[in-house]
């Protein structure tokens, strides 16, 4: 059992180590996902050397990301997306454009090539609202106007972030082909629109047939097949697999209650997602931080990432008044997992260097750690009321 034991040992270190540090971070009132990242950095080849990126760990990490995004999709009903108001749309869109432009422009300005600059910009786009939702819930502020805008804009942001990822993941090394980029963007948008407007109804029409199947838990089995199939389809049209996984979840979200899809998908994502986050840490080469100028560059990117969301999202809802605009701007700062996913895709495609990967990881961590204390400062003190607790952030679930 030599080989089997060695394989199991790596998996045990990843899962148990990740969950141990996640618990430590939770006790420090920080998101557990950052603990899993740190566990990966510690376990990885550049420090302890107990876990390595190989076919199995990379494969498990990819399946983990797929089920994580599938679960996020299951929490996002197409109807909710369509009901998002004008303000939230403006917040989401300008909160995507400003950070992207800032990141892209700065990286270009300091001499990086087009593709690496695009990847950094793309990683600065997405909002991870889980941590913000937790702070809002702790302060009993989930029903405030600012909170409603944040939560709605964050849902749109998931879609926009994945569209950006779909586009950038079609980039291979070398030249940026703008025509090809345009085609992928059109495909991704069409894919998303079909899944939002059509797929849910088509699935509803098949409902009687699904119940007739003999296999136990057949709806869940079919949902996994749809998730894997759309992930595969995404890679064939040149996008990241997780875009398809998210859209599969989105298409099934309206049927989730009837078929108990969320209850079934959560344990899967709880087991598999840690492999993804830990492996993101494993792939960090801590020696890159000794690169001259890298710490400065990372600090600058962190500042731009914070300013980008503050300004972009704040401007989008300035008509709500300065105070609410500030709250929304700060609430949208955390990047969390979607930024990490973009970085992971870039590394897998060998389109970004170890140094740029490290910068993106630091940016994701810093924005996620920085937001909660500032958010607590600008929000009104907790009103006595029923505590809503965990589980309110779409992105937080399944992590």
């Amino acid at each position: 059992m030599e080989h089997s034991g060695k394989v199991l040992l790596e998996l045990f270190f990843m899962f148990a180590g990740g969950k141990l540090l996640a618990e430590v971070f939770e006790r420090l009132r920080q998101p557990g996902v950052l603990g899993e990242l740190f566990a990966g950095v510690l376990l990885g080849p550049s420090l302890l050397g107990l876990v390595h990126p190989n076919d199995l760990t990379l494969g498990l990490a990819e399946i983990g990301a797929i089920f994580l995004l599938f679960t996020v999709g299951l929490e996002t009903r197409p109807g909710d997306l369509l009901a998002v108001g004008w303000t939230a749309t403006l917040v989401a869109v300008s909160g995507v454009i400003v950070p992207f432009v800032l990141g892209f422009w700065y990286m270009k300005a300091v001499g990086y090539n087009g593709i690496e600059s695009i990847f950094v910009g793309a990683a600065m786009v997405a909002t991870s609202v889980g941590i913000t939702a937790r702070v809002l819930a702790d302060l009993g502020a989930l029903s405030s106007r600012a909170a409603r805008v944040i939560l709605a804009a964050a849902v749109l942001d998931d879609i926009l972030g994945l569209l950006v990822l779909a586009v950038v993941s079609s980039l291979s090394t070398g030249q940026v082909h703008y025509v090809q980029l345009g085609i992928v963007a059109a495909e991704a948008a069409a894919f998303a629109l079909v899944m939002i407007f059509l797929a849910s109804r088509v699935i509803g029409a098949f409902h009687p047939h699904v119940e007739k199947l003999r296999a136990r838990n057949s709806a869940f089995i079919l949902s996994i097949i749809l998730c894997l199939g759309l992930s595969l389809a995404s890679t064939y049209i040149g996008m990241a697999a997780i875009v398809g996984a998210f859209l599969a979840g989105l298409a099934l979200a309206d049927h989730s209650d009837r078929w108990k899809l969320r209850e079934n998908a959560h344990p899967l994502s709880e087991f598999l997602a840690p492999f993804f986050f830990v492996l993101l840490g494993v792939q960090v080469n801590v020696r890159t931080f000794a690169t001259p100028g890298l710490v400065n560059l990372a600090s600058m990117i962190c500042i731009l990432a914070i300013v980008g969301k503050l300004v972009g999202c704040g401007l989008g809802c300035l008509r709500l008044g300065f105070k609410d605009a500030l709250r929304v701007g700060i609430g949208m700062v955390p990047r969390g997992e979607v930024g990490l996913i973009v970085a992971g895709v870039g590394l897998t495609l060998h389109t970004i260097s170890d140094a740029v990967y490290s910068i993106v990881l630091v940016m994701s961590m810093v924005t996620t750690l920085a937001a909660p204390p500032f958010l607590r400062m600008v929000l009104p003190p907790p009103s006595p009321g029923p505590e809503i607790g965990q589980g309110n952030g779409s992105v937080e679930n399944g992590v």
Copy 2:
């Protein structure tokens, strides 16, 4: 996304193909798990060549087997094991000894070496009661005396089969070291006894601490860590990983309701176990059936596997009368997944040849397919009563 797409394609074929044929088999009133095996044979290198054993598929299959056995363990309460009566114990024990001796003796007689003979004998030991429980439920006979003996003996059989597996998996190629075998047998028995008598109480004592953890679903997370940790421990003391996974489930079975472990573990096993069964099929080289004499040998092993359980289990409960002894004997014939697991372990360890692996797979399939029609013949016709339906067999769950 070239590599990512290729990896996903294999996983998609395995899961979707396995589940498609499982549905076909279920409609033919056969166990779905045989459909997954056939899907693997079709997809594997010796026929379509769409799926190959590699680090990722082998790793996923191993994790699948671990969670499958973990789920089976969760269904087996230590108290139920201790409450099994004298008759069932006799049925289980003589139903283990007779097939093992027959298989070992016959393989030796036709010229195979000691280790291959032991593996074939070991694969003939375990009972897969899932399919029998289904037939009993269909005929409304689950509460009959014969049914109660079958179900209780099958639970003991799981333990005995895994003990035998623990011992044989310590065999490497070459000589059989009986002293070493004895040590592993003692270790395995001690491990099982500790888990049955002590572990459940120790876990119960930690109960208040578990509830204090911050991570969501922390009991489930801890149960996974225990499952992976004991699987790892099993490999270190020279046993198969799944023995530890089963014992981890067993130790947690009494706490499963409070912590919702079964509800959480089932989706994991539903997603992962098909990779195990499909890969068992993938590893079949259909060309081995052209080996001269192999079909004859396989037929003989099938006959001995059926006769072994009929005689061994029947003798064990002859005092219930001939009719019930016959019912119990036939009910214990199906080998199903535990026989397959033994074969898979043998192949992984390179201790059995492709031909012997094929024989064991055929034996598992034939005994599983053969039992239900005969069982229907010897059982009284269905009495009108509430249909009990699925989910009564401990082994069936999670497949």
